[in-house]
């Protein structure tokens, strides 16, 4: 287990290194290189930048400098907000995004698992069709379309919830719902399939042959076995939340990372784009690792084969 973990972490660092390198060189390729985007910089800023990043230096040296800076946690200085380090911008914005992401993840997976389980238990009834319908809609309707429609009908037309901005918990309800439809649909579909497969397996028939009631069969025997593989979709779901946060934060005008990312793309604020990209990539890799470790912890087959054999 320890060796496996170490191996995974090394691989993770390698991937991150490659991502930072790709980001750096792609940014260098952009016509009118980011650091020399003179029109957007004042003379003094350019002087600071050039001194700091050594833009007059050859490319390899710039690359190593950037790498060294990133490792020390320095992601550069934003173009649009003069003299503000990217790290400060990010840390000031991360709160709302993290809160939205966590809320959507928790609500989405729990509600999705619930839908999937009742769909599987009441297979081929209207309850099942209903849960399948929600799953298909959630997977199909793009999050920004859904978010815009929610905003228009629930907030603007009906006035039940605030239209936009970030001034309290009630402001997070609509964006959370908008973000969570994708996790709901994925968790529900996956859970339904897993649950149906588990319910038709031999050990479930044996459990029934032992005289267990359908409730005991479903919740003592089937649920745990069906839940284990669901952990594997948590990684992709977290990533989908990152994608979703860009548009949902834009729609609801939430001062989060996603909104900032979209703005910086629109004004070509390269240091912020690069910094956010690296942060997203690091988060993604970290989540995948956590999910894998989690999976090996909750599945006794994996857990014990590492320990005893």
């Amino acid at each position: 287990m320890g060796k496996y973990l170490l191996q995974r972490i090394l691989f993770m660092l390698l991937t991150l290194f490659i991502i930072i390198s790709i980001t750096f060189f792609l940014m260098k390729l952009i016509p009118g290189s980011p650091f020399a985007a003179a029109a957007k910089l004042s003379e003094s800023q350019r002087a600071i930048m050039e001194a700091k990043y050594g833009l007059d230096q050859p490319l390899p040296i710039q690359y190593f400098r950037y790498m060294a800076n990133v490792i020390q946690g320095d992601l550069g200085i934003s173009f649009q907000f003069s003299n503000t380090p990217v790290t400060d911008l990010i840390s000031g914005r991360i709160g709302p995004s993290a809160m939205l992401g966590l809320q959507a993840m928790i609500f989405g997976t729990i509600f999705g698992i619930f839908l999937g389980v009742i769909g599987a238990l009441k297979q081929n009834t209207w309850i099942d069709s209903g849960s399948t319908l929600i799953a298909v809609l959630g997977k199909s309707i793009p999050s920004f379309v859904f978010a815009a429609l929610l905003q228009y009908f629930i907030a603007v037309k009906l006035g039940w919830l605030p239209v936009a901005f970030w001034r309290g918990w009630e402001y997070s309800i609509l964006p959370t719902i908008a973000l969570s439809i994708f996790p709901i649909s994925i968790a529900a579909r996956f859970m339904r399939t897993e649950m149906i497969e588990v319910l038709s397996s031999d050990y479930i028939v044996l459990a029934r042959a032992k005289g267990a009631s359908s409730f005991e069969v479903a919740f003592k025997h089937a649920l745990r076995n069906a839940l284990i593989p669901v952990v594997t979709v948590l990684g992709p779901l977290a990533v989908s939340l990152m994608t979703g946060s860009l548009v949902v934060e834009k729609i609801f005008a939430i001062p989060g990372l996603g909104e900032q990312f979209v703005t910086s793309i629109n004004v070509l604020d390269y240091p912020v784009i690069m910094g956010t990209t690296i942060l997203f990539a690091a988060l993604f890799i970290f989540i995948v690792l956590v999910v894998d470790v989690l999976y090996s912890i909750i599945d006794p087959r994996i857990r014990l084969s590492g320990g005893e054999n």
Binding site: Q123, N124, S200, S201, D202, Y203, V205, L206, A207, R208, A209, K210, G211, A212, S213, S214, H221, R224, N225, I228, D299, P300, R301, L304, S305, E308
Partner: protein, 352 residues
Amino acid sequence: MESILQVKNLNISFNTYAGEVKAIRGVNFDLKKGETLAIVGESGSGKSVTTKSIMQLLPKSNSEIKQGSEILFDGKNLVELSDKEMEKVRGKDISMIFQDPMTSLNPTMKIGKQIAEPLIKHQSFSRKQAMDRALELLKLVGLPQPETRIHQYPHQFSGGQRQRIVIAVALACNPKVLIADEPTTALDVTIQAQILDLMKNLQKKIDTSIIFITHDLGVVANVADRVAVMYGGKIVEVGTVDEIFYNPQHPYTWGLISSMPSIDADDDELFVIPGSPPDLLNPPKGDAFALRNRYAMTIDLEEEPPMFKVSDTHYAATWLLHPDAPEVEPPLAVQKRQHKFRGNNHTEGDVF
């Protein structure tokens, strides 16, 4: 002898997207107290469906037990029991061992808990009592180091060990009827023998009746008192082990017995039953076996044969037993056996 379980006129259909598959077409048999009844037949003959229907374990969504079917146990018709009532029968009075021990235990539950579960459920044991009894059962089925292994997960056991655990689960509540659905098919030959021995010993100890499903005639000879041969969703011949092995009457049984390889079979090559099982989506008119039967008569293609009585314990559904039927010569291997049977009929044939 007293019957503990009676199956009368059992008809079961499956609804598939191609149409209605008549998997069981009028099966009758009874299981006597303390005996082992083997049900023999090729894949798709309906053996497993019959036993699953006794436990009421067929999926309700696509299977249908027809009106008029009766499965009588303990004065109740199991077909008519509610789910709640059936739960009280399963695992307590009737329990079951499945074919594949690798998949029939819950992978995320410790085996002790899996054995204890029916005890807590049916006998209102406390957790502690149930675990003590589980330990006893593990000793009974001959699992080494039961004290430590009771806390392990199924994947830590070999196939043979798992089948012992499954047997322990099945025997936990001292069931009156034990259904073993090909319990040795998925195991190595040496392990098969161990498991068969275990089952025979346990049957003596706890006095249970066993329905043993298999397609392996060697296993039948080893464990069974009586044999029912199934073909195309029907029982085509039923009798004591000696009667089926040494005096078979149905051409399908002839085929089964002559296709059994034996070391002392001197010259003749292995007998083969041609063709494949009947399509139960459109069951053929007449005898389902007729098209594969080299002894078929015109009537076999027109009329389903009834059960003809051979002796008090021996019945077979073939027109060859009709008084008007011509005398035919069974395959050589069967003739030899019949010869033996007539020789020692009086010593062995009267056991039942």
